[in-house]
């Protein structure tokens, strides 16, 4: 069976996408009054799930220039969003540099120390594939908690060395000195196969849990560097009945979550 397409929790009917959304949501449990900026459908679902359950104070944006007082479905238009305050891009930088934010960005490549790339593949001077650019990853990663979402876990995304360090990992932050490490906090990675933190030796990436239907060996085979694997690897938790109902009936009735894992 291809672990990337495994249908998790057949007994309960819970899908891999739903497990991933809960794994993302867990990153913000009890986070308090910080701005949570999720990139991607499943992180957005996770953030809204957290907001409606165990992280009621987190602050979400409407994806444009406002903070939302509610957490509508990810497929809903702007009409469904209740705006509570103004947050144009310039003020987002105030928040980033204040530290009151936890971003979950995507990563085209990520390495064992949490260095992330979304700029280009190949030599930066003349890349094989130009991607979107470094965006805010350098600043985010040295200013506030930063996590990553990788919907296509493979040896092409989990690599020995990223082609362009955008988000700064633990080794690079340490080499850059105290100003870089002071607020550096690369927190977690969630992929379609499992959840990870950086509690390995020297802050190397460690497997925290595998999603139902995935084994630690599957994860190792899909990872291009040596992961820290604990003796016992638990399964990522399933959504509760209430969470499933929020995910399916309130936050994503259009089932956008499934498209991100196809």
């Amino acid at each position: 069976m291809n672990p990337r397409r495994g249908s998790a929790g057949i007994e309960t009917g819970v899908t891999r996408a739903e497990v991933c959304a809960v794994a993302c949501a867990e990153l913000w449990r009890g986070a308090g009054e910080i701005m949570v900026s999720p990139f991607g459908t499943i992180p957005a679902l996770g953030a809204r799930l957290a907001r409606l359950s165990f992280a009621p104070d987190i602050v979400l944006t409407d994806g444009e220039a406002a903070l939302m007082a509610n957490a509508p479905a990810v497929s809903s238009g702007r009409d469904a969003m209740v705006r509570e305050a103004w947050m144009p891009y310039r003020r987002v930088f105030d928040v980033v540099w204040s530290g009151r934010r936890h971003v979950m960005m995507m990563a085209s490549q990520i390495d064992r120390y949490g260095n992330q790339n979304l700029s280009c593949i190949g030599d930066w001077a003349k890349p094989r594939a130009q991607l979107i650019g470094v965006r805010g990853a350098p600043g985010n990663s040295v200013n506030h908690p930063t996590s990553y979402w990788v919907p296509n876990h493979s040896t092409r995304t989990f690599v020995e060395r990223v082609d362009m360090v955008c988000g700064v990992g633990y080794d690079r932050a340490a080499a850059a000195g105290p100003a870089a490490t002071r607020f550096h906090d690369v927190r977690a990675v969630v992929s379609n196969l499992g959840a990870f933190d950086f509690a390995g030796p020297d802050h190397q990436m460690r497997l925290v849990s595998v999603h139902p239907g995935v084994t630690a060996d599957d994860v190792v085979a899909a990872t291009g560097f040596e992961l820290t694997i604990p003796d016992v690897v638990p399964e990522s938790r399933l959504p509760t009945v209430d969470e499933l109902s929020l995910l399916r009936d309130v936050l994503d009735p259009a089932r956008r979550r499934d498209k991100e894992l196809s």
Partner: protein, 294 residues
């Protein structure tokens, strides 16, 4: 007081080969596209484009107007990547300066404030330092002694921004949700050009929207151009949303610059003057049915 109204040709006529030119907006939102189109029609060469990049960057690259690009990203928002910019990067035909979007902001701010640099944590430890070997760090002169990135001023020879409304004196009003960094682009530039959906008499902007939306003042504009549809096909809320159909056509056709689709797009939408562009857009909207253009 000075009436600063001018034509697109007037203001683009002030540009010279090799200049560094900033464009306001963000991604595929409220880009000064009428000005970009006028530059496409000009014979200008070797420009360095400074932009929170969208189709402005791609179009100028495709037309061979560009020597360098200063950017933190280039995206079409609803379409992740711009095909022309990708090609220019992958073929190595443009010189690139890629920085964190916050560094970019501080570069404009430093230029507007006439200081040589502003300090920031952003960039530390990242390959932004590697690919920009000219970037320097600076040590805090205070007890903390933190060593931060010294983001140099991004000084512009000229800047273009597009507003929903302007008055004849060059005050500009942004009626959409985000004023972006347009005031800083103007502040960072030696020659400062404002285009707008509509230009009204001085003192009449408050009839159009709230005073807080007037984020550009005449202190920072040299000329104002009335350009209805001047951000099209990017969004210009609340006057119009992004023309997703045309943007999609642009992106698909742009995938092959030698192909018939791009030749046709170029002839239809770019090898025409601004009124010709707007007419082609109306025609395209009529032929594709209910897709709202404006």
């Amino acid at each position: 007081m000075t009436d600063k109204r001018a034509s697109l040709e007037d203001v683009v006529g002030e540009l010279r080969d090799g200049m560094t030119v900033g464009f306001g907006g963000w991604g595929s939102r409220r880009k000064p596209m009428a000005a970009v189109r006028a530059i496409l029609r000009s014979g200008l060469r070797d420009l360095t484009i400074v932009s929170y990049g969208g189709p402005d960057v791609g179009l100028l690259c495709a037309a061979g107007r560009v020597r360098g690009v200063v950017y933190g990203f280039v995206t079409l928002d609803s379409i992740a990547l711009d095909p022309h910019f990708r090609r220019a990067r992958q073929q190595g035909t443009v010189q690139s300066t890629e920085v964190d979007v916050g560094m970019f902001y501080l570069g404009l701010l430093a230029a507007a404030q006439r200081v040589p640099f502003l300090p920031t944590r952003a960039g530390l430890g990242s390959d932004v330092m590697r690919v920009n070997p000219g970037l320097r760090t600076v040590r805090s002169p205070y007890d903390d002694e933190e060593e931060l990135v010294a983001m140099p001023a991004l000084r512009l020879d000229a800047a273009f921004v597009h507003a929903n409304r302007a008055d004849t004196h060059g005050n500009g009003q942004m009626l959409g949700p985000d004023p972006f960094f347009d005031d800083l682009f103007l502040g960072a530039a030696r020659r400062r050009f404002l285009t707008a959906e509509r230009v009204v008499e001085p003192g009449k902007l408050l009839e159009e929207g709230p005073i807080q939306a007037i984020t550009v003042t005449r202190l920072s504009t040299d000329a104002v151009v009335e350009a209805p549809g001047g951000a099209h096909f990017t969004s210009c809320e609340p006057d119009y949303g992004r023309d997703e159909a045309l943007q999609s056509l642009y992106a698909k056709a742009g995938a092959d610059p030698e192909g018939d689709a791009w030749r046709s797009f170029d002839e239809r939408f770019l090898q025409v003057d601004e009124s010709g562009y707007q007419a082609a857009v109306r025609e395209a909207a009529a032929s594709t049915g209910p897709e709202e253009i404006r």
